[in-house]
């Protein structure tokens, strides 16, 4: 069908088919051109690297104490100063990135898996199943997230794993709703019908045709969700529910530092900044992803 006439306006048609570059490539291209998102990605990248290489970056172990050098202000030896046990705050903040990343991703991962599954079932099968699941979600939603998390964390007891579970459960409804909405809109798309017309069964349709297309909103929500989860977890730690001594959870560090705030500003400022920058980065990235995944939404 292509034109026989040589055309210098367009490049010569390549003989070999071009590399397979899916929508994700487009997304990546759009994301790349968004400066804010790149800043976000860099922040998160640095954070992840910090977490991975924490032992190499931190000058001391997070638990190493030096009771003779308590509450030292920042110096060359201890970039962020020391805390009330003489522990190096820089080291603790560095190690803390591991915890925050873990908490954020595990909690959100849990919420996405459970919520996504519930949402998919709910959306795909509709009817009674849908009704029951969504009413359940309504019930979960009618308790503000942090309170639900507090109730869950309190009944499970303090500890990071429990915080992850608590925060995760609290955000299940959100993902269930997103996935359900996506599934509902996808379910009646013609390509799903086309798949059915060529003999695909429910499983294939859900896994191959519906799920991959729900991914975009989940990724966006997930990125922002990680941010929220980290904040919630910090909040729970602040309330004393996330503690796993002597792990350097940022929220817990802040919580401990509050008694020393007036004398040793550095004890609270650095963990506070660490949380802030992390959330900032995740938000930038999340916003960028939203724009990149759904160009229509771009302002």
């Amino acid at each position: 069908m292509s034109s026989q006439i040589p055309n210098k306006g367009k490049k010569e048609k390549t003989k070999k088919p071009p590399k397979k570059r899916g929508q994700w490539y487009e997304v990546w291209k759009r994301l790349r051109s968004n400066k804010a998102a790149i800043v976000g990605a860099i922040i998160i990248g640095v954070l992840v690297l910090t977490a991975i290489f924490a032992p190499f970056i931190a000058p001391t172990h997070y638990r190493t104490q030096d009771l003779d050098n308590r509450q030292q202000p920042p110096s060359f030896e201890h970039l962020f100063g020391t805390d009330n046990f003489g522990r190096c705050i820089f080291s603790r903040v560095v190690y803390g990135s591991r915890i925050s990343i873990q908490v954020g991703f595990v909690a959100v991962g849990l919420a996405i898996v459970v919520g996504g599954l519930l949402g998919a079932i709910s959306g795909y099968y509709s009817g009674h199943v849908d009704n029951i699941i969504m009413r359940l979600m309504d019930i979960l939603l009618s308790i503000p997230g942090i309170l639900l998390a507090i109730a869950i964390a309190a009944s499970l007891g303090p500890g990071l794993v429990n915080v992850m579970i608590a925060v995760g459960i609290g955000s299940i409804p959100r993902y269930a709703r997103i996935v359900r909405a996506s599934v509902l809109s996808l379910r009646d798309q013609e390509f799903v019908e086309a798949a059915r017309a060529v003999g695909a069964n429910d499983l294939r349709i859900i896994l191959k045709h519906i799920m991959p297309n729900c991914l975009a909103p989940i990724i966006v929500q997930g990125t922002l969700g990680v941010a929220e989860a980290i904040l919630s977890a910090a909040g729970l730690s602040f309330l004393g529910l996330g503690i796993e001594l002597p792990k350097p959870e940022w929220g817990a560090m802040l919580s401990e530092a509050r008694h020393y705030m007036r004398d040793s500003w550095h004890m609270s400022v650095f963990p506070g900044l660490a949380i802030m920058i992390t959330i900032f980065g995740l938000n930038l990235l999340g916003d960028g992803l939203r724009d990149a995944l759904d160009p229509r939404l771009k302002g």
Binding site: R63, T64, Q65, L67, R70, N84, F85, G86, A154, G157, P158, G159, G240, L241, I243, E244, L245, P246, E256, R258, H259, Y260, M261, R262, D263
Partner: protein, 488 residues
């Protein structure tokens, strides 16, 4: 002036870290409530800040026999509702207390059948078996004397319509927030100086200091160790620091390996630099505990040697016990900052002698349950000898009848200790008791079911012009003696 003329302020604002739970002395036994109740109610006997027994509502008392005391009540004492105090009120109060789950143990020794109203102002109280600490127990706020009519009328809501004989009467309670008391004008003793008291609930410890600094409140209880300097160096503020009846300890589960070996327990006592803990965690407040009860408690054994910090000795002992390479174990605590901080340091210091610790922070409820069930290895708790009598501080904690919930969460058992504790409890003779307690403390120190940490301290922050305030070692301080110094 300083001889007790009326202060210049109308309303004394006192802040503590929690609201009272209930103003019914039999409904709860928590410190914030007691601090309020102390102003409203009175007991038959009181203990001054030196823990000397003083007449309260009872003018005098006599021991009739090994089991029985007779109390003579002060006449003309008015309750806030206008009723007069009668012996029947005392009987009513004690019987009611005995029924209470919360405070039953305080009066538990009393034989309900053995309460006998002799006449309007005289009452006899008998115990089931000889119980020497009885008088001290009757000074506890839980045995505050209630008015039968008020209680009956109050019904389920008595807890927020309390009626006592104290210098202040209850006026208003904004639940969760603040309680207002006003001076009781018909008070039988010397009337209070300040017409009104407001107890404010300021949870955040640091905020109480800030509020004190900014002049929003007059008295702040339970000042953070971190704020000691700040208040002491503040020109308008004073800090009162006094040792109290509390002891903080790290208990070992003596039934469990390796803590069933006394050498291990001793080794840990040597391995920990308690002084550094006190410095780091409590900013040097309180004192190193040498034994199970602090110096403020009667019959405290002041001759006990502190273990001291001696890592070599610790290692030696561990080696003897067969743990030259150390071992791993867990340390439990609840979500209390102080205890967590202690745990953090203990963990680090025990590494020195090869003991690796996993700190588990439990929620208070779970913590109590689990330590009572003996699931733990090591744990951190405190004990307040509220009555100031060593029986209260030693019996529950070290008697083998009291395993678990009852108080002996170390599951420590020693026949000699049991014997001595029983003897001291029964004997009416102070010297006999004292001797027994001294020995108990020696044994306990030696056998070390605890890592002895520290004796607590009450820190009350005051505005400098506040006078007449004294810390009471039981933690509930009298406020009717408080006044404001004239500016001249």
């Amino acid at each position: 002036g300083c001889d007790g003329e009326v202060g210049q302020i109308e309303n004394l604002i006192v802040a503590q870290g929690s609201d009272a739970d209930s103003l019914d002395p039999h409904a709860t036994n928590d410190q914030p409530s007691s601090r309020v109740k102390k102003q409203i109610y009175e007991t038959l006997i009181t203990q001054d800040e030196n823990m000397e027994l003083q007449p309260g509502l009872a003018e005098s008392w006599d021991q009739i026999d090994e089991l029985t005391f007779e109390f003579k009540l002060k006449e003309g004492v008015k309750f806030h509702n206008g009723e007069e105090l009668k012996a029947s009120d005392v009987e009513f109060t004690l019987l009611r207390a005995l029924d209470s789950a919360h405070v039953g143990h305080i009066v538990g020794a009393i034989d309900p059948e053995g309460i006998e109203v002799v006449d309007e102002y005289r009452i006899r109280i008998s115990t089931v078996e000889p119980f020497a600490p009885l008088l001290a127990h009757l000074a506890h706020t839980a045995t505050s004397i209630l008015n039968e009519k008020a209680v009956t009328e109050g019904g389920e809501d008595y807890f927020r319509n309390p009626v006592g004989t104290g210098p202040y009467e209850f006026s208003n309670w904004e639940m969760g927030n603040e309680i207002e008391l006003v001076r009781f004008e018909d008070y039988h003793g010397e009337p209070a100086h300040i017409p009104m008291i407001t107890f404010r609930n300021i949870q955040e410890d640091g905020n109480r200091t800030i509020e004190l600094e900014t002049g929003e409140i007059h008295i702040a209880y339970d000042i953070l160790p971190q704020d000691i300097n700040r208040i002491e160096s503040h020109e308008n503020l004073t800090l009162l620091r006094d040792l109290n009846f509390s002891t903080v300890y790290l208990g070992f589960n003596c039934e469990k390996e390796p803590f069933d070996d006394v050498r291990v327990r001793q080794a840990i006592n040597y391995a920990i630099n308690v002084e550094s803990i006190i410095d780091a965690v409590m900013e040097g407040s309180g004192e190193v505990a040498t034994g199970p009860i602090g110096p403020e408690v009667w019959a405290a054994n002041m001759d006990l040697d502190p273990y001291g910090y001696d890592v070599d000795k610790a290692k030696e002992l561990l080696a003897e016990a067969g743990y030259e390479d150390g071992f791993s174990t867990t340390l439990w605590t609840n979500d209390n900052q102080l205890r967590q901080d202690i745990a953090t340091i203990v963990e680090e210091q025990l590494l020195e002698v090869g003991i690796e610790i996993d700190i588990e922070v439990l929620e208070f409820g779970a913590y109590l349950e689990a330590t009572a069930d003996g699931e733990h290895d090591m744990f951190i708790l405190g004990w307040v000898t509220v009555t100031g009598d060593p029986d209260y501080g030693l019996y529950s904690l070290f008697h083998s009848n009291e395993f678990g919930e009852a108080g002996n969460r170390t599951f420590y058992a020693n026949e000699r200790v049991d014997e001595l504790l029983d003897k001291a409890r029964r004997s009416a003779e102070p010297s006999v008791r004292e001797e027994a307690y001294m020995e108990v403390q020696e044994i306990v120190r030696e056998e070390a079911p605890w890592l002895f940490l520290n004796t607590g301290e009450d820190r009350t922050g005051l505005r400098s012009d506040i006078r007449g305030f004294v810390n009471h070692p039981a933690g509930h301080h009298a406020l009717w003696t408080v006044y404001v110094e004239d500016e001249q």
